[in-house]
């Protein structure tokens, strides 16, 4: 088979025209500004940091009311009294 015969095959191939606006579609797609994800990432990271730091800083146990404080205070006074008793 001659090389020219093969060339003629391609030369005679019917190439249909591309879609209307083919070039414009390429340009529009290529030059379309890409959405910046930086702001989205930054805001999500800030929320995560806030939640994590909040959970770390929160006290694990809290007195229910003022009577609990009084109980602790009374105990310490009692212990102190015992110490002074021994010294005397």
């Amino acid at each position: 088979m001659k090389d020219s015969e093969i060339k003629n095959l391609f030369a005679n191939l019917n190439v249909p025209a591309p879609s209307v606006g083919f070039e414009d579609a390429i340009i529009a797609k290529a030059l379309k500004p890409k959405r910046s994800f930086f702001a989205a990432y930054a805001s999500v990271a800030a929320i995560c940091l806030f939640v994590i730091s909040g959970s770390l800083m929160a006290p694990t146990t809290q007195p229910a009311d003022s009577s609990d404080y009084a109980y602790i205070l009374d105990d310490s006074l009692a212990i102190d009294d015992d110490i002074y008793d021994e010294l005397i």
């Binding site: 088979m1 015969e5 191939l13 190439v15 591309p18 340009i27 290529a30």
Partner: protein
Amino acid sequence: MIKKLNSKSNAAANDTEQDIAARIAGGDEAAYSSFVKGRARYYYNVAYRVTLNRQAAEDVVQNAFIKLWEKRSSIQADGNLVAWLYRVVVNLAIDDKRRLKFSELHENFEGTDGAAEEEQKDITNKINKTLATLPPRQRAAVMMVYYDGIPQKEAAETMGINLKALESLLSRAKIVLKEKLVGEAA
């Protein structure tokens, strides 16, 4: 090869290829748009000859030009932009999974009538069917070497294969084409 490709394409720019490459590398959207408008049709024809599918050829060219814009910063001013894009188009077209459906052969001729056009339609359909029997890699190799006239060494480099492999593709393609054409003529 670049000169050959340049002469075949429709680019009627006053700028040299190096000027255009430099402007695109610098993010010049006008230069890029002008380059697309001047060359897209040429690359579409290249892609179509490999894929034999209009939509696939359009997608291939679109992806190639988008890739060019995304990688514009790595374009070298003295680089061969046209040849680089040709390589991208050929390889994307080879990798495209869509293939010509024989029903599409007739769709390409909708709206034609008359005896002469019918005859032309038959001839072109026969050519399409003959070329469609080749695997895409063989079709790409044959197109580059015998139609575009690219030296075998450069064609092999474009496809990322060695010269022996390209010769093998060409040899097998010739056998298939000969069998097909002789078989249909008989």
